[in-house]
């Protein structure tokens, strides 16, 4: 099912009672969230609370893990992408993902962008050239690499590789961008560049990012969801809302402790 792209505004994501299971173990339980259109939403929380699993369920990367099961509904605009009839190829074109470790293909810089375009049907060399230049400009790489597009992508620095991966996603004209801790493998200078880039992408794309760096969340997010591990071992979302409310006027005691840095929340804190 192809989503109609009549409207130019990026879609809204609606998660209803989404749970992710690995075998019998529940990684994250009964999450209901609305990710607003065109904004930067951030999932924060300690390691192990299931945020990456939740992220992966949105572009059905969870299908790759043998024992993994996702229940509930995930709507991108009106479509439930967890429904078996969803076309995975179209879903992953519509929803782009950037990983924690930059993973450009072992090809040249321009082939990293040309190859996915070709696979999705765009073979006209002029168009490919145009798109390549545009996305590399969008991520701020064009000036740095325009003279060496045919050199191997693996020779770029970590930060450059990550920006290339973002460009690669953008080349397919997605509506939604998922970032899984995109800066955790990068140095502070490279991190700064990526954060600037993500800010520039706001408005054109609906962005959902996972990070355990609270200051990064504070800097970037329009909307924050706080994840935590329950006593049962499964993760859950304890509170969500816009940036200012979560970081300054939060209601939930865990959010208060975690986000506002008051002591450290303990397992005995009431949920």
């Amino acid at each position: 099912m192809i989503t109609s792209r009549l409207s130019h505004s990026p879609p809204t994501l609606n998660l209803s009672e989404v749970s992710v299971y690995y075998g019998q173990k529940m990684a994250i339980s009964q999450v209901s969230l609305t990710i607003p259109s065109g904004k930067i939403s951030v999932l924060v929380g300690p390691s192990g609370c299931g945020k990456s699993s939740l992220l992966a369920s949105i572009n059905r990367m969870t299908d790759l893990t043998p024992n993994c099961r996702v229940s509930g509904k995930i709507h991108i605009d009106q479509q439930n992408i967890l429904h078996p009839s969803t076309s995975l190829m179209h879903l992953r074109r519509q929803v782009g993902m950037v990983f924690q470790q930059p993973n450009p293909f072992p090809l040249s810089i321009e082939d990293n962008i040309r190859f996915p375009l070709k696979e999705h049907g765009q073979k006209d060399p002029k168009q490919v050239q145009k798109i390549t230049q545009k996305v590399l400009e969008d991520v701020g790489l064009w000036k740095e690499v325009s003279q060496r597009l045919k050199t191997p992508a693996l020779q770029l620095s970590g930060g450059q590789q990550q920006r290339l991966c973002i460009a690669r996603c953008l080349a397919l004209s997605p509506d939604v961008l998922l970032f899984d801790e995109p800066c955790s493998a990068l140095d502070p200078l490279a991190t700064q560049k990526i954060e600037t880039l993500i800010r520039q992408l706001r408005g054109r794309y609906t962005i959902l990012m996972v990070t355990h760096n609270l200051s990064q969340a504070r800097r970037l997010a329009d909307y924050v969801a706080v994840c935590w591990t329950e006593e049962s071992g499964a993760g859950c979302v304890v509170e969500s809302g816009d940036n200012q409310r979560i970081f300054e006027h939060s209601v939930h005691p865990i959010t208060r402790s975690f986000c506002q840095g008051v002591d450290g929340a303990t397992k005995d804190s009431p949920i």
Partner: protein, 282 residues
Amino acid sequence: MAIDLWLPRILQLCAWLCAAIIIAIMTFLLLESLPLIIESGFWSFFQLQAWQPEENRFPLLAMLIGSLLVASGAMLIATPLGIAAAIFGRYYAPTPLAIAYRGLMELLAGIPSVVFGFWGLTILVPWIAHWSPPGASILAGILVLTLMILPLVVLTCDAALLKVPPQYLHGATALGLSRWGTIRHISLPTAFPAIASGIVLQMGRALGETMAVLMVCGNVIQLPDSWFSPVRTLTANIALEMSYAMDNHRAALFASGLLLLLSATALMLLADHYRQKNCVQY
């Protein structure tokens, strides 16, 4: 403590002894064949005339060609089949089937060559004889050798594909790329040096195979004029004639052994070269 004095020395002795074996082999081969090489000249071995030990004539060319034809034929069939089967096991088969398939290949890899030869002799050769007597032929040799080499080619390619970094594959999946597209443009090129290395190594093994080809190739020393002609390989020649060879005849057999060893070594070094290329990240 005394043990720390002599233990390292003993271990060192063991190591160098093991390393010396190949030197000993080459030395013996050379010693036994050098008189004949000096006497008849190096190029006399590469003539196309008939092999006539009584007349002191030992041209190896016809048998060398026989060896090359059988080995190359087997590799030409086994390589694409093996790569495809490995791709099947890694990317298309459901996991339990893939594990069973790999297990089958591992089991087959251990079956002795004499058993392959026996099957070839009792089943394959009579079957080919239906089409074109006598049945024992290059074709039989190629088919039996293919069966022998195939499991190893599958296993080497499988190991090579396993080494492709998973983050490339995750990236490709996240971009919604087709499975065959990913295999063709990412997995295969990345795994290529390791696959090439494995193929070259198996070619060496195919050239060195003795029993199976001896039992099904017919063992007539001649240049084949069709796939159904019998041939004799260098290896089979040594095995058949060694027990009664004397003097110069024996020296000739050692010379052909030397030739085999040098070819196998050259192929192994080539395979190693490919494997080194694999380790260099660009």
